[in-house]
Symmetry: C2
Subunit: 490 residues, 2 copies
């Protein structure tokens, strides 16, 4: 499907490749005022989160250096990482993501540019070896940092100091993920994921307004759809543009609301003409997952990967049904389709019929009728439940003791959005102040991939050492605070 279009789509995507803004930054503290000996250690603090290339300028004191300098250098997005090690790490995400290097420098003085790009605020340098005849002098440390975001962002209409701090970290998060494309995280995975893109594009629309970058990413996804026309969950751009072989039920569908949001913001009819057919095609592909009789989607095991949240016990059957409805409704806003409209109604009705516990005001999922926060949130966002029942649903969830909790900022975004949908604006605001504000209070310059206020070491990967601390899907507080959605009358 769409094979004849893909070359042109890729050309358009590549024509929109941004020129990165480059800036040289230096640590605000940590450069030692004395020459360093073997086994000494320093921590440079750049004062904020940056993405870029680090350079050390080194010289020596004492005799002419008679042996190389051997350094261990670790780049940390936040202070907690400084003391983490890979000892005993057995998680399933590759430990190759941990930003730690060992380098030898043969000749001093030297300007030593590290070859890779890092995401960091702190740089820890351990002197693994020198010789006894000389000491190491750190003459300078700097980084050429990059972003494709233009820093001339509208000043938000916010006066509360905490909100200003929350907005600032959100902007920083989005900005540092904006490179050649919208990366999910500049430390890890440094890839274009559709779930992240959707929330980045949303936040971009009220901040940097770099719509060309959104357009580029939409075309990249379209150009790398598989032979059936299915849009991948994520893609790579190096060494050349190529989709990952990972598909997620929800992420493929999210191409639709992401496209809608772009077209609403820009009125770009050419992009709509190009991309609407492949967007709508995602709904068609998803249809195969529905029982034509009951109009219910398959359960977890048969559905393939539907992301929703990083909660391993989560049954995603209900959420998948709701997300299909949510995305189909977005499609209707781009193109009227009476048959699709009817199908949406049937699938909403089926969801209520089979999975709504009317007595408890809660939706269940799967054969074991699991109750999760995710199901309630998506029931509201998809409009499966509306009005007073929707309010009751979220209230009931809050009172349900055994409910499967939410894990990621990504899921928390949808929760806050659902609260806005049912006009619980104060509550939504409080979620943002407690959850994202909690990260700020924990020293975050940028928002983390994972944050559990009760367990800061939480990681779906086996160890926080591979977590990303500047992660795209966590950037939406700026959208909440700037879009007006938190206003009572919005």
């Amino acid at each position: 499907m769409f094979e004849e279009k893909k070359t042109e789509w890729l050309r358009i995507a590549e024509s929109l490749k941004p020129t990165l803004h480059r800036e040289t930054v230096r640590p605000i503290s940590g450069i030692p005022d004395h020459a360093l000996m073997e086994n000494e250690s320093i921590i440079l603090d750049f004062g904020n989160h940056f993405v870029g290339h680090f350079t050390l300028k080194l010289s020596s004191q004492g005799s002419h250096p008679d042996a190389p300098v051997w350094l261990a250098v670790k780049f940390c997005e936040n202070a907690l990482e400084l003391n983490e090690t890979l000892d005993g790490y057995a998680g399933w995400i590759s430990k190759s993501w941990v930003q730690q290097e060992q380098v030898h420098i043969d000749v001093l003085p030297a300007v030593f540019p590290f070859p890779r790009r890092y995401a960091f605020r702190y740089v820890k340098i351990d002197i693994l070896a020198l010789s006894s005849k000389y000491q190491l002098v750190i003459e300078d440390a700097s980084a050429e940092v990059t972003t494709s975001a233009d820093d001339s962002v509208p000043v938000p209409l916010i006066s509360d100091e905490k909100d200003i701090a929350i907005d600032r970290a959100a902007l920083r998060t989005l900005r540092n993920c904006m490179q050649d494309f919208f990366e999910d995280g500049p430390k890890r995975d440094r890839r274009l994921w559709l779930g992240d893109l959707r929330l980045q594009a949303l936040t971009n629309s009220v901040t940097f307004q770099n719509y060309d970058l959104v357009k580029r990413c939409l075309y990249l996804f379209a150009a790398t759809a598989d032979k059936e026309g299915r849009i991948a969950a994520c893609l790579f751009t190096e060494p050349k543009v190529e989709a990952d072989d990972t598909f997620m039920f929800d992420y493929s569908l999210f191409f639709i609301p992401t496209l809608l949001q772009y077209i609403q913001a820009t009125g770009d009819q050419a992009a709509k003409n190009d991309l609407l057919p492949i967007a709508l095609h995602q709904l068609v592909l998803a249809d195969a997952q529905f029982d034509p009789e009951t109009q219910l989607i398959r359960d977890n095991d048969k559905l393939g990967w539907c992301f929703v949240d990083w909660a391993l016990p989560l049954n995603k059957q209900f959420c998948a049904q709701a997300i299909w409805i949510y995305c189909a409704q977005a499609a209707l806003q781009m193109k009227a389709d009476p048959l699709l409209k009817e199908k949406i109604l049937h699938r909403k009705e089926a969801a209520r019929k089979y999975w709504y516990d009317r007595e408890r005001y809660l939706f269940v999922s799967g054969v074991k009728r699991q109750i999760s926060w995710a199901s309630q949130v998506w029931a509201v966002l998809a409009g499966i439940v509306e009005g007073p029942d929707a309010v009751a649903c979220l209230d009931a969830a809050a009172d349900c003791p055994d409910i499967v909790p939410m894990v990621t900022p990504y899921m928390m975004h949808h929760y806050a959005e659902a609260l806005c949908r049912v006009s619980r604006k104060t509550q939504a605001r409080q979620v943002i102040r407690d959850y994202w504000g909690g990260m700020v209070e924990n020293g975050a310059d940028t928002y983390w991939e994972l944050y559990n206020p009760e367990n800061p070491d939480e990681s779906p990967y086996g160890s926080p050492v591979v977590n990303s601390f500047c992660h795209a899907w966590s950037c939406t507080p700026a959208w909440f605070l700037r879009s007006g959605i938190l206003e009572e009358n919005a």
Copy 2:
């Protein structure tokens, strides 16, 4: 002293900087025929010792790589090093010399040139991390190797297979130490040392005959003499030419026989005119170390560092006296000087008077009258003992149970040369076959800095992990085998 000459001397030295011969070599074994997973390990064998820059060509198998490759790469001069680690290393030579790197490669396929120069035959690669979604393919491994030696060496007049093998390793050693200058060891210290240069120049004269490189090194030493005109024990050429602040009594004096050897081989009168004054000046400087009454040199503690051999218990007083005599005699060959001639006679006589044990035919050293191999060897080489007494001296040493032994190939060279001096040619030949031949039997492609047949782990530095296995001062078997000195009538 000589300050007004140094700029010109340095200019001459730099004008003789050689163009390196470059060649691309590949492993003879070890490139795996399967794709590699995390924790796998391979060993590439290049089939001989090389000095140069290593490059990996990598690709992947499986899904698009979704995480960097993290490799540990270790370069080993011989097979023993493959299993050595730095765990617990507490030696006094910097562990930064150990040729081990950790690198991350972000994008595959990749051609990854390692930035530093290594000395190696084996390259061990440990896959520290990949991801479970792909495997690593080693497409190619190669090295651009360098030497300033011209490989068109005269075929030696040797027929014995063992001698041919001994000569081959000697040539390889010298060749791989010949880079921009005569390095002491291409793994460590990669520096110009006078003690090594003297033996390299000797061997060069019957092999590569690259006299310009010898000339360059002589001018480098002259140009970097200190303000008193004292020639340093070693010097650096990077980032600019600079002498080390290490001075050795014997090494400064060895400038004289090294210059003599060069002038005898080339007849270069201009160099003689330039450099003889500073060569002779080393004798004058050394005079301050002699008691004008007894004509004996000071004992160890007051003399400063006199190298002689890496034997810590060695008392070097006698050797220092003998080496002064040896070098002064070399000076006489360049310039007649009746006063110097007389001084030599006095100092020989003093050495015999105070330190010769006539009953045992052995020379003693220091207030504790230590008997060492080094003292006997230098007594013979300096002509302090001659004729039948010289033979008796070396024989007595061989029969002396508590004698301080010889440790380095550098000292063993002088021993074999002393045997030749007393016409014990067969015995000298046997020393070469046993000692250097022993290294060949232990798999040496190039000769080691240290070799104790009874203890292969011997190191003056605290651990063999920092030993150098291609070391200049060990290259002289080619001189013995090619110069004719082993012939009965030579």
